[in-house]
């Protein structure tokens, strides 16, 4: 049996609308995912310019999902951070970190959708795309 590390997520921060204050939103995010290009599959023919492939290689998207928390201190909750998504267009530095490694991205979030399902759960989804075209790398 493989050894269990028992690690909890160590970092998940997203910047506020001011574009400089990082907020720890780990407690309000239950799922997130990164869609990255598959390097091995070239989608443009070899007759196309390299530029198209470059665009694809730099094309990343992110989606976060969590439980709504309209806490007493809005700036300390995911809602406080994401509530400004529809009204601002600012690149937000998003950092995820685990096991001593971290991944830092400049992300443009494009929506903040709140959903109440049948059994009363109030959840949100926040999709985003990489804003500056730099491939995020683990450090």
């Amino acid at each position: 049996m493989a050894k269990q590390t028992g690690l909890a997520w160590t970092t998940l921060t997203v910047e506020d609308a001011d574009g400089s204050t990082a907020r720890d939103i780990r407690n309000d995010v239950t799922d997130f995912e990164f869609a990255t290009p598959r390097e091995t599959q070239d989608v443009t023919g070899i007759d196309k310019s390299a530029m198209e492939r470059l665009l694809l290689l730099a094309d990343f998207s992110i989606k976060m999902h969590g439980v709504c928390n309209f806490g007493a201190v809005p700036s300390a909750t995911a809602h406080g951070v994401f509530a400004t998504v529809p009204s601002t267009s600012v690149q937000r530095t998003t950092v995820i970190g685990i096991g001593g490694k971290s991944l830092t991205n400049q992300v443009l979030y494009t929506d903040y959708a709140i959903k109440r399902d049948k059994n009363g759960e109030l959840t949100y989804d926040v999709p985003g795309v990489l804003a500056d075209g730099t491939v995020p790398t683990w450090a």
Binding site: T30, A35, T36, R38, E39, V43, K101, L103, T110
Partner: protein, 143 residues
């Protein structure tokens, strides 16, 4: 429908790294006291409009099934329930269990799943993700 930026390539050209912490397994429900709930500390007010079906159901629940003590006042069709401090509020409070999240890798992106998710240990997931990103970075730098 979420407002997504359309990806450049077709769905087969993407690979998704996901982290899940399901509420059922990675969180537990805790009472108000554990999370310094303001409603518990100071009491709270719930106003319902009994002119509506929803309002009647809410008022019926509070009066007959909630099991909480309250003072009620009515103004027209608006009914105000004032709950004194020291009671569990109506919100569900959850705290994370600090468990290792479920990490998986799959083909596709938010549009579709092209290969089924493969679950990985966190360390391996980070490693796989890091190698993948590194390959992409190398390709971008090569041009």
């Amino acid at each position: 429908m979420l407002n997504h930026m359309p990806p450049v390539g077709p769905v087969q050209a993407y690979k998704t790294y996901a982290v899940h912490s399901p509420l059922q397994s990675h969180f537990k429900e805790v009472p108000c006291q554990s999370v310094d709930c303001d409603a518990y500390a100071h009491g709270w007010i719930t106003m319902v409009d009994v002119a509506t079906e929803l309002g009647r159901q809410q008022a019926g629940y509070i009066r007959n099934h909630s099991g909480r003590s309250f003072v009620v006042s009515e103004l027209g069709t608006m009914v105000t329930f004032t709950f004194p401090a020291g009671q569990q509020c109506f919100q569900t409070h959850r705290v994370a269990l600090e468990r290792e999240p479920i990490c998986s890798v799959r083909g596709g992106d938010w549009r579709a799943v092209t290969t089924p998710p493969r679950q990985m240990r966190t360390d391996d997931w980070v490693d796989d993700f890091a190698n993948h990103q590194d390959r992409l970075k190398t390709r971008v730098e090569r041009g």
